[in-house]
Amino acid sequence: MNTTEQIGLINEAINKTKEQLRPLGVNFIFWGLLIIAMSLGHWLFPAFIQMTSYSALLYWTLLPVLAMVYTVYYNIQVRDKTGYETHIGRVLKIIWSVFNISWITIVIAALSSGQNPSPTIIFLLGITVLSSGLIIKSRPVSLGGGLLFLLYIGHHFYPEINPFMLNILGLSFGLLIPGFSLYYHKNDA
């Protein structure tokens, strides 16, 4: 094997391992749709969701925890199918794991003390989405994170905004639209 062939072999081996953006898009779409549906459910049927003093807390923790279990299972399946984990994939896994832990902590702390967790979660989601967008160099995802920041700032000037509306707007622009853009992205990072 001559040097040209060896360099070609190295290039080929490295170029084969690319970050797959479609599964990340699936995660964004899944979580966007889930939280929008949950917000609509709570908005339309408040008497049912707030039936007891703990029912809203259960609604906003139990369903997301079950969804997290499904997400972890889905991502393990994707990892097993591709056969490798890229450095970018590992970084994304870590930052989204930290987001999930922070999110559950905020929800439990806020709902236990009767506060609205939505603005803090929108802020946290903004940080995580913006970081993800910058890491994978995706403009739609970075813009989604930026829009979440704007929504958070907007909430301070207009605190009367319905928290479910805030969730629906934030998740639509911050996760759902960037998720579809990743899903239909042709070239992987």
Binding site: Q6, A13, G83, R90
Partner: protein, 95 residues
Amino acid sequence: MPKPLDKLLLNPVRLTIVSTLMGVAECDFNYLKKVTETTQGNLSIQLKKLSEENYIRIRKTFENNYPKTNCSITARGKKCFETFFINLQSYHTKG
């Protein structure tokens, strides 16, 4: 004068393994088998050689009662690969 090349990385299968691991955090045995286009036995031998020289780290786990082998590159492996690549380019430029 070009520097001598690392003999361990002159083997195409071992070079493919190390090149692949340079681009990922971790990858499994089946993926390496696919990219190296070699037999299971030969791949095991080459992985063992790289592991013995501390170029790669092998992590064995069990999944659904089946053994699973995951590999990642070590700091020494990265350094040796980078040196190998620089030396290879010097040969390539002169050639």
